[in-house]
């Protein structure tokens, strides 16, 4: 390793094992949640996050010291970590929770990540995570973590450029009005949006290499974090079935029907 004034970057990528995007979601009979006895895989936005971290390393080469992935989940989440290692991460941390424990909430996850970051002797410069998980669509973890740490944040990133010399990241965000460009000082939290990149497939040689990469196991207790849920889900139901529409003969009839339904506003 060459000595340099620029500190080498440590990237942390939190990932989540979520219901696979292709699965047909069904509400469970008790109406307390969805049927979880289905295929799970890495949250697609987190895959994009892992891919971005690997691409940053491909661009900056030696300037990136480590890419660490972390997940908070039951024992089965280890598979998801292995996939991330096979995509190019260097090491992993598994904060293991019991199989029967409820899924951690975004605030709990953010607190756990905070505790983990504070534990890292070499510090963390960039945290990249998915903007939301496709099971709960909360979209809160990245923002909460930034708040807890007091770090800069850039969410819904569609382009990321990291400058280790200047210790900033230039990030293009997708917002309702279009695109916004931000320059964030390190340390920074970035959440990924769909158009940031297209994740690679884990090639077989990388899957075999992933076997040898270290996976550290921790518990929430060791990190001093309480993952007890603060929210109680009262009921989960499917959306009401769509009722058939009606055909209208012309625009006037359309306007009349819209007025009937009370959807038109009063003209000023």
């Amino acid at each position: 390793m060459r000595p340099s004034a620029v500190r080498l970057l440590n990237i942390l990528v939190p990932i989540k094992r979520a219901v696979d995007y292709a699965v047909k979601i069904r509400v469970n009979p008790e109406q307390t949640g969805i049927d979880l006895n289905v295929k799970h895989s890495m949250n697609p936005f987190d895959e994009i996050a892992v891919e971005e971290a690997v691409r940053i390393r491909e661009r900056l080469k030696d300037a990136v010291k480590s890419i660490k992935v972390v997940t908070i989940g039951p024992p089965k989440s280890a598979e998801t970590l292995r996939t991330a290692l096979a995509m190019g991460a260097d090491s992993a941390v598994h904060v293991e929770i019991p199989e029967s424990a409820p899924a951690p909430e975004p605030l709990g996850v953010a607190k756990t990540l905070k505790a983990l970051i504070e534990r890292q002797k070499e510090g963390v410069d960039v945290v990249i995570l998915g903007k939301q998980a496709i099971d709960d669509d909360a979209g809160q973890t990245g923002q909460m973590l930034a708040g807890l740490m007091g770090w800069s944040q850039a969410t819904f990133a569609s382009k990321v450029e990291v400058d280790p010399e200047q210790k900033v990241a230039n990030i293009t965000r997708e917002i309702d009005g279009g695109l916004e460009e931000l320059r964030c000082k390190f340390p920074v939290i970035i959440t990924t949006d769909l158009r940031l990149n297209e994740p690679r497939y884990a090639s077989l040689p990388n899957i075999m290499k992933a076997k040898k990469k270290p996976v550290e196991k921790l518990t929430a207790v060791e990190l001093g974090v309480d993952l007890t849920p603060r929210l109680e889900t009262i009921k989960v139901t499917e959306p009401p079935k769509r009722v058939g529409g009606g055909k209208v003969a012309n625009v006037d009839e359309l306007l009349a029907k819209l007025k009937e339904a009370g959807v038109t506003g009063k003209r000023a």
């Binding site: 497939y201 090639s203 077989l204 040689p205 899957i207």
Partner: protein, 420 residues
Amino acid sequence: MFRAASWSLRATKYCPKRLVEPARMFSVSAIRTEGFRLNSLDTFTEEENMFRDSVKRFAVDVVGPKVREMDEKESMDPTIIQGLFEQGLMGIETSSEHGGAEASFVSAIIAIEELAKIDPSVSVMCDVHNTLVNTILRKFGTKEQQGKWLPLLSESKLGSFCLSEPASGSDAFALQTRAKKDGDHWVINGSKMWITNSYEAEIFLIFANVDPSKGYKGITCFIATKDMGVQIAKKEEKLGIRASSTCTLNFDDLRIPAENIIGGEGKGYKLAIEILNEGRIGIAAQMLGLAQGAFDKAVPYTYQRTQFGQPIGTFQGMQFQIAEAAVELETARLLTYNAARRKEEGRSFTKEAAMAKYWASQVAQHVSGSAIEWCGGVGFTRETGIEKFWRDSKIGAIYEGTSNIQLQTIAKFIQQEYSR
């Protein structure tokens, strides 16, 4: 993993000759007794499962959109070949020293199956390259030959296995291609026919006879590159696996350096027999994937298409047919993966490989044919790709040992076992 410590087993002749290293199966929980690991036949290591998911995604995302076009044009898209190399799918068992993934034989079988679920043409290309070409070099090549050829085969150059000729298919060792010594070179004359991958390949394993007076004991395996003068003649227009190139090759005073003999002079017969055994399991995997792919495409349709007020898949007649097909798929799967595991364990697997290949090709024909019928007119049109599986399946009973040859092999084993 837990041991039944008090259970001791006497070594019988069915004891595996080589234990699978624990490191390769670190996350498979199994009942472990001395020298044995007892698992259900569809147990896979974590790597093998991850690999299956990875190949599946590649097949669906990258190969899937191009399948119809490649079939209609009878041509393999170069980006697919490149994609296979990039994914490490062309050096699955090769050591990492030579650019490979150093994975298990079963991993190769998994890759072949998953590719076949989407396109059996791409699957056979990967199969021939891995189980025939790579394996010959790994098993019979000298250190120098391995160092020279395996990296090329792992990274970018497609390989081809050239045994059959116009006048010798099942009777492979009646081949006519001749090799004459000329100083430190051999001069090869003759032609090969029905050679898979040949249109796109750059590396060719050519079987030629150096001394016809010795009969099959003169057959020798040579490795050649295209630029040495391998002529690609007629490209066959086929019923199925149309994207997989099948050509006639001509050798007209083709000069090959003597150091390009693999396995030694006159050893070609033994080499080919052994390698084709393994290749058989590969074809079984291809046919299995084909059958599964057809089934997976057709069955959901039967639960969507309604006639007489109910989904057609819920009529009892259809249910019975679908269930029978599922049973057949399971049998083909177990035969294939068990033969593959036996090979990994160092046990004899020739009979099991023959059974797997023979049976999987039959299942493929039957299930893909049923798949068309279940989908009615929609199954008959080329648009949905279901009929393609049926056309592709026919070759299963023909190449890498016809069904009759497989049955003969199996019968020989039975005769040996039962007539003592």
